[in-house]
Amino acid sequence: MDKNKRTILSRVFALLVIGLLLSSNLPQPTGMARWLGADRAQPASLNGAYIGKVELDYAMPGEYSDPLPPPDPGGEPLPDLGEIGLGLQLTQSESGVEGYVGLEHTLVFTTEHTVRGTAFGPMVTGSFDGTNFSLVSERVSLVSGGKNLMRQFQLIGGLAEGEEKRLVGEYRETLWGYGSQPLTIVGRFTLDWYAPVATDFLYLPLVDRK
């Protein structure tokens, strides 16, 4: 199957999924932007390099998979936690989405993998149903301030409304080892498609060094 045919089939499949979603009135994930426009005509795939940022909102004890309700808006004003850069190199296959954190666009991750001489951060895996996606990173260890820490993050989101090359959603990252309980920071990510990568990225990645 050549690339064009595969692209067409994947788009048809994505359209069907979108149609199903829209017709079934499936509830959108709460707490996130409405990622998929109703008039979106093109299905999408998570292939390529995405770069952007995560605006950090709040942090609290707990793990990323916990409910972690946002702080009471009427409570104490939240501190401005700023933002971090984030870059992902993603490849979508039938089994799901895989990829790595690209280090060129973020300073808060360190080298965890080297593929064909290129350093990458933590590996991420997840799924994309044509509308929404969920990615979880591997858990990585580090030593900081004399403490043995572990980090893992999760991205849940989808395509931005009217911006088929933009991913938006919620970012959660959990830190273990800093204190007696796991701590999680919650933010909102915006990632823009930056460049394509080959489908065999995981094995022979073509990294855009523009």
């Binding site: 950090l56 609290m60 700023g82 920071i185």
Partner: protein, 1041 residues
């Protein structure tokens, strides 16, 4: 009965996981044994040693509803009881806190602590972690384990003590029956040795900021309540952190400051390498500070509480500061790594990669701790009753976020190819390299001052400031040395003298005031006893007075005893005198006549009368302040006074000269002998009195001396405290001159960098190929470094091809817009004109924003490449041209004419029109080798962050002047040429030309643009010459930054 036994370096773990951090984390409680059971050593994790208890609202505390663990204990040793268990734990905690505190205070810059002077301040000259340290300068010797010989060992030991104290106090805060302590006379009664106040109050007396009742402006020492265990826990935490932060900051200051060798400032690569070492040392100290603070986060106390549950904002703030300081230090490390060890262009990427790695490390550390701090701020204590402190304020997380942004900004500068000055390294300053006329740094720049000259003058001024700073530093240090010498004199001489006299030695007191009080008290007590020094021997008043235990064993006390002994001799004389008197007055010869006595012949007194006089004389001797004057005030003593003069004579001679002649005596010889003894006792009494007065005078002088010495010690201390050299403002004067120098150094460095960058452009050269690294300027730390850099730079450029020696050619080129821009060639003249006018029509603009008349606005790209514009303009020997730049007017060659425009038109009577030209974009220069180098010329004011109009493009140069029409004027005529583009490359991707059709003055006709037949751009240029030849690719590679 249980008994706690302290064994060094053994660990006992109490509750759950960690409780016994507390009882023992440190050197302490190693084993708790039961009297009837064999001792059981407790090691980490041993089940039998884990402490547990009933966590119950019905606590051992009397206050109802207070959550408390009741009856904590462990299988190994059973329940802990107040006495001795808790008291021993408290004593252990107090000892450790006191030890650690002693070290921290000794290193504090306050109060003239000698350890600060010796160890911290001297860091400038001798990074002294490994240097030998006198432990006694820091704290009681018992605070240190054997082998604590170096400064780092002293600090490590103090840190360990403080962290152990922290855990012990945490344990006490949770488990100990505080009310028992506050009812214990040991704690609330007289202060124990080494303390001036009771350890605890019956209620909490803690007051960290007591008000001075005398309003003397002094900051009083905080009032400590040793039974306020949470406060002591927090104090232990803060002291440990401050100890590390103190040295971290010292390393940072040294790294960021000037490197003064004692003779001159030290600069260059070695200085940067030393900075890196100091920054790494600083970061390590900050890491240790953070480690000590953060380990409380997961240090459980077995009650569900963690040590950090007792933290307040002060402790959280220290944690935040320790983290941020690490990040800052790491950022500085990264910045320096970006320009260290660059020996060749190829090593630049490697250095930058290492720098990026360092930035990444800083960022990751900062980020994960930001998560930690922000989460802890939102968290609540886990255990019931753990709400003992505060959660970190959100502002701390926000500060950490801001620090993270700063780190990212610095890293981005590196990835954006900005250098350490913030300059985009792809830019070249649009300002000449050298001044057009010789420059004097003493005057405002004459002519067009070049960047090199500007940098040189800036470095010269920096050198002046540097010399000032050397002087200031030396004066400061000298005054510090003098001050230190004076303090040493006070400590080793005056203080010791006062100590010997009074018995109050300064080293025995916690502070100066307590010592002053002791000396004053001795003076009072001894003077009280002095009043009774002359009472009869059998009177116990004096002895009773001197038995006061508060009287110290000093020279003054001894002198008073000596005085009393002298008086005792007199008393003995009186006794003898009484005996003789009695014998004479009861003898048969009492009425015998004395014919000579004490050298007075012919006297008619009887023996009894003479004896009476002597008796009264001896007994009338007064030991009061005024001596015999009082004696004369009574009749009896008045008689004695009559012989006073004779006595003085006799006392001055030999007793045998006091001849006695007696007549009519039955036992003449015996009577004479009695009178002779009698006389000698009078003399002895007199001499004793003199001796007494002498000793009394000496004693009073001793006390006076003590008072003077004490006053001198007080004055010296006051002088030390208020000495200009010790005055913070004096330091600020020194620091301000340093800041002034630093600012000038930065300016000079930036200008030197720009000069080098400009030189590369003006010579179309690669300085790195001449063994000159532009990045060397990042390592400049002294004015001399900068001057050496500039000398080296000019040494290279003076020798380069393209220097004044070589750049000797000037030529004016005409560019036909029709031919070279519109590329209209080979047609007939009519067709050529038609095509050109079509081209003109295409670029004719009717834009009121430009003019209310049509304008011709067109771009030009001038290219140096073969088949490019200049190869068409210079039709012969083009590949021999290089370094083609535009001239000014009469500069750099007398024949230079700048840039002018000639409009060719069929329309008559126009004379001239306004024309505007702008050169922007990337400019090009051909190098000596034949490479074409690209440059982006940028206004220096933008590079330096000075004012620049936001609506003006800093990368372009623009000029408006008059264009000739049909050569009505010579292009060499002023007003018809512009010098604006002088020094800019003739080749650029971003030329823009605007020809205004409107009449420049009233009365002249507008120009019909469609009558134009061509436009000539006349570029007056300078160029250098070369042999034709293709360059090696490596010769066209420019890498430096």
């Amino acid at each position: 009965m249980y008994r706690i036994k302290f064994l060094d370096r053994r660990w006992l773990f109490l509750p759950g996981v960690a409780l016994l951090v507390a009882v023992v984390s440190g050197a302490a409680l190693a084993r708790i044994e039961r009297a009837v059971v064999a001792p059981i050593p407790c090691g980490p994790g041993e089940e039998s040693c884990r402490l547990s208890g009933d966590f119950d609202p019905v606590s051992v505390e009397p206050a109802p509803g207070v959550w408390q663990v009741s009856g904590p204990g462990a299988p190994a040793f059973g329940a802990l009881v107040y006495d001795p268990d808790y008291k021993l734990i408290e004593a252990q905690a107090r000892e450790k806190l006191t030890c650690g505190l002693g070290v921290r205070q000794a290193l504090s810059p306050y109060k003239g602590n000698v350890a600060f002077e010796d160890y911290v301040k001297a860091f400038d000259y001798n990074v002294g972690w490994g240097r030998e340290a006198e432990a006694s300068q820091f704290a009681n010797a018992s605070c240190f384990v054997a082998g604590t010989d170096t400064l780092i060992e002293v600090v490590d030991e103090a840190d360990r003590n403080l962290r152990e104290a922290r855990d012990l106090y945490a344990y006490l805060a949770v488990y100990a029956p505080e009310y028992r302590f506050r009812a214990d006379s040991y704690y609330i009664g007289l202060p124990p040795p080494g303390f001036t106040e009771a350890l605890c109050g019956t209620t909490d007396k803690e007051n960290p900021d007591p008000v001075d009742p005398a309003h003397s402006g002094l900051v009083l020492d905080p009032v400590i309540d040793w039974c306020n265990f949470p406060a002591r826990l927090r104090q232990s935490v803060r002291e440990a952190a401050n100890l590390r932060l103190l040295f971290g900051q010292q390393f940072m200051v040294d790294a960021m400051g000037l490197h003064f060798s004692g003779v001159d400032f030290v600069g260059g690569e070695n200085a940067v390498r030393k900075e890196l070492a100091q920054l790494r040392a600083a970061k390590y100290q900050y890491e240790l500070a953070e480690k000590g603070l953060a380990e409380a986060l997961d240090r459980g106390l077995g009650s569900g509480c963690y040590v950090s549950d007792f933290y307040t904002q002060s402790e959280w703030s220290l944690l935040s500061r320790a983290i941020q300081n690490q990040e800052t230090a790491q950022s500085h490390i990264a910045t320096r790594m970006s320009y260290m060890d660059i020996a060749s262009p190829e090593s630049v990427p490697q250095a930058q990669a290492q720098a990026m790695q360092a930035f990444r490390q800083a960022s990751v550390d900062g980020y994960v701790k930001l998560i930690g701090m922000a989460s802890l701020g939102a968290a609540q204590p886990l255990g019931v009753g753990c709400d003992k402190g505060e959660r970190p304020d959100g502002l701390l997380a926000a500060e950490m976020a801001a620090n993270l942004i700063e780190t990212r900004r610095q890293a981005n500068e590196l990835t954006d190819k900005r250098n350490v000055f913030g300059f985009d390294v792809s830019f070249t300053p649009a300002r000449p390299y050298k001044s057009s006329v010789p420059t004097s740094c003493d005057e405002a720049g004459a002519g067009d001052r070049g960047l090199w000259d500007e940098a040189w003058c800036a470095a010269e001024y920096a050198k002046e400031l540097q010399n000032d700073e050397v002087g200031n530093t030396r004066a400061f240090d000298n005054s510090q040395v003098a001050l230190q010498t004076e303090m040493e004199e006070i400590r080793t001489v005056t203080d010791v003298r006062v100590g010997k006299t009074s018995g109050c030695y300064r080293s025995d007191f916690a502070n100066d005031q307590a010592w002053y009080d002791c000396v004053g008290q001795q003076d009072d007590l001894l003077n009280t006893c002095l009043a009774s020094v002359a009472v009869p021997i059998d009177d116990q008043t004096f002895d009773s007075c001197m038995r006061n235990a508060q009287i110290k064993d000093g020279e003054a006390r001894q002198a008073l005893y000596d005085l009393r002994a002298t008086y005792g001799v007199y008393q003995n004389v009186v006794k003898k005198e009484d005996n003789i008197y009695e014998r004479i007055t009861h003898s048969d010869d009492r009425n015998a006549t004395v014919t000579e006595w004490l050298g007075a012949a012919g006297a008619l007194q009887t023996v009894a009368q003479v004896a009476q006089v002597g008796y009264e004389f001896v007994n009338c001797i007064d030991y009061g302040e005024v001596g015999l004057a009082d004696a004369k005030s009574t009749p009896a003593c008045g008689i004695a006074a009559g012989i006073w003069a004779a006595m003085e004579v006799a006392a001055g001679g030999v007793s045998t000269q006091a001849n006695i002649e007696v007549e009519n005596a039955n036992n003449e010889q015996e009577t004479e002998n009695l009178l002779l003894d009698h006389s000698e006792l009078m003399i002895e009494a007199y001499a004793t009195q003199q001796q007494f007065f002498s000793k009394k005078s000496a004693y009073l002088a001793l006390l006076d001396s003590m008072g003077r010495d004490l006053l001198e010690a007080q004055r010296a201390r006051a002088y030390f405290q208020h000495s200009p050299a010790n005055d913070p403002s004096y330091r600020m004067v020194r620091d301000s001159s340093r800041l002034q120098l630093a600012k000038q150094m930065e300016y000079a460095s930036r200008m030197a960098y720009l000069a080098a960058r400009r030189a590369e452009y003006e010579y179309a050269a690669r300085l790195s190929a001449s063994n000159f690294r532009i990045s060397d300027i990042y390592r400049a730390r002294t004015a001399d470094d900068i001057k050496r850099y500039l000398i080296s730079l000019t040494g290279v450029t003076n020798s380069l091809a393209g220097s004044a020696t070589y750049q000797t050619n000037a030529s004016d080129f005409r560019i036909s817009v029709a031919q070279h821009v519109a590329l209209i060639t080979n047609e007939t003249p009519a067709e050529r004109t038609r095509l050109f006018r079509d081209w003109v029509a295409k670029y004719t603009v009717n834009d009121p924003a430009i003019s209310n008349k049509p304008v011709l606005k067109f771009p030009i790209t001038t290219s140096l490449l073969e088949a490019g514009l200049f190869s068409q303009v210079i039709q012969q020997g083009y590949d021999r041209y290089w370094l083609l730049k535009l001239s000014g007017i009469g500069d750099p060659k007398p024949s230079s004419n700048g840039v002018s425009v000639n409009l060719l038109t069929d329309q008559a009577g126009l004379s001239y029109r306004a024309v505007a030209m702008t050169q922007g974009g990337v400019v090009h220069l051909r190098s000596f080798a034949g490479c074409t180098f690209d440059y982006r010329l940028l206004a220096p004011s933008v590079l330096l962050g000075l004012e620049w109009a936001s609506n003006q493009d800093p990368e372009s140069a623009t000029a408006v002047w008059n264009a000739n029409v049909n050569e009505a004027h010579a292009y060499t005529e002023n007003g018809f040429r512009t010098p604006t583009f002088m020094g800019r490359a003739a080749s650029s991707t971003g030329w823009e030309v605007i020809v205004y059709s409107g009449a420049p003055v009233a009365g002249m006709p507008d120009m019909d643009l469609q009558q134009l037949t061509d436009i000539e751009l006349i570029f007056s240029t300078t160029y250098a010459s070369r042999e034709p030849g293709e360059p090696q690719p490596s010769e066209c590679t420019r890498i430096d930054w």
